[in-house]
């Protein structure tokens, strides 16, 4: 079986897997916060289902991360028993939901990245990574259809929905640059043929974003400043609050099961 173990150190692979798993987990949890609060029932159900897919994907990535780490930690320990500085998600994923429009804009900006990423990962030299990517990629392609559709409908909607979508885009734009910056982990993964260099995903992402924003009559900010830190554990204050809620049960009642 083709596995990364022969091609790269477990430490690097573990670190990279956390980035995938934590981004899916944190975004999935954020989206799940809408459950019971969405503007209409259909959207409530849709958001909950997107959250389910993402949390399912997080389980696959974190399960593999735990296996690679080899310290006896599984998906649950990694999700519930690490503090903010050990999380490796993109800062964009942890940004607050804001209104419905901002939630959909955040989803769109990440979906447009995940689709080419997962597509490229289907060709990973590690068959476990390729299998997760093939599974998750089908789901995320559907998410992107939905988030792009809603960004267009709300952007090119009423004056109020347009204003809110532009505001959301302006607020989130400076968190998108982080997704394309490569560090030593990314370089090592790319050189071993295990994952694409993040910078190589920019063209596909930009193409999708430009086309959708154009139809949505929205304008991307020109400023290229990028907040960074998510991949090294320096998060915005929002992640700690998110974890306080997500991890409450395991922190208050360690080892609880039902």
């Amino acid at each position: 079986m083709a596995r990364a173990t022969d091609l790269i150190s477990n430490d690097i692979l573990f670190e990279w897997l956390l980035r995938r798993g934590d981004t899916a987990l944190v975004l999935g949890h954020r989206v799940s916060e809408w459950c019971g609060h969405s503007p209409v029932l259909e959207e409530d159900i849709a958001l909950a289902n997107v959250a389910l897919d993402l949390i399912g994907q997080a389980r696959m990535w974190l399960g593999l991360a735990g296996e690679v780490e080899g310290e006896g930690r599984g998906e649950n320990e990694l999700a519930y028993l690490r503090d903010a500085w050990d999380f490796r998600n993109f800062l964009l994923a942890e940004q607050p939901n804001g209104d419905f429009g901002q939630t959909l804009m955040r989803q769109f900006l990440i979906d447009a990245y995940q689709v080419p990423l997962l597509e490229a990962l289907k060709g990973s030299k590690d068959e476990r990574i390729a299998a997760i990517a093939a599974k998750a990629g089908k789901e995320v392609a559907y998410h992107l259809d939905r988030s792009a559709d809603l960004v267009i409908r709300l952007g090119d909607g009423t004056a109020e929905s347009h204003r809110r979508m532009q505001q959301a885009l302006d607020a989130l734009w400076s968190y998108t640059g982080e997704m394309f910056i490569s560090d030593a982990v990314d370089t090592a993964m790319a050189e071993a043929g295990l994952a694409p260099d993040p910078a190589s995903l920019k063209v596909a992402w930009q193409e999708t974003v430009d086309a959708v924003l154009d139809q949505a009559t929205l304008t991307a900010p020109e400023d290229e400043f990028a907040h960074t830190g998510g991949l090294t554990g320096r998060h915005s204050e929002h992640l700690g609050h998110l974890l306080a809620e997500m991890q409450f049960l395991q922190r208050a009642y360690p080892g609880a099961t039902w």
Partner: protein, 170 residues
Amino acid sequence: MPVTEDIVWKWLSEIPDPEIPVLSLTDLGVIRDVAWQDETLVVTVTPTYSGCPATAIINLDIETKLLECGVSNVRLEQQLSPPWTTDWLTKAGREKLRAYGIAPPVDGTRSDSSAAGRMARLTGQGDFKVACPRCGSENTEKISQFGSTPCKAAYRCQACLEPFDYFKCH
């Protein structure tokens, strides 16, 4: 008489899907393999969607059914690749869905990863008709990309005015 793999397949075909009980697990196409390894029966299962809550129940139902049939030495294995697709939904399963009030998947309409395909869908060129499972009319419209479970979308029939679930092509 030894329990052959064919017999096990038949037993598995009697287990209903926990969320769409009109379908059996074999109709759904989630059982990928049945094989004896020495004294152990190994059943290989693939999840439909990554986060589908039915996955754990399906595993439990398989173990329970096999135990009832007298096979106690069972090992379930999860297989992710190739990923589950509605192409594996049996013909009989599709008819059962329709009779149950759920429109079966329209083949060849799954979301692909290509930007061109997406733009075609977003601009309406990729539209496809989903026939109402009650009255058969193709005058239907999508209400939401998701329905009551991850595998379905919500539709409404403009002819008979009934809402219905559509089992997405995946």
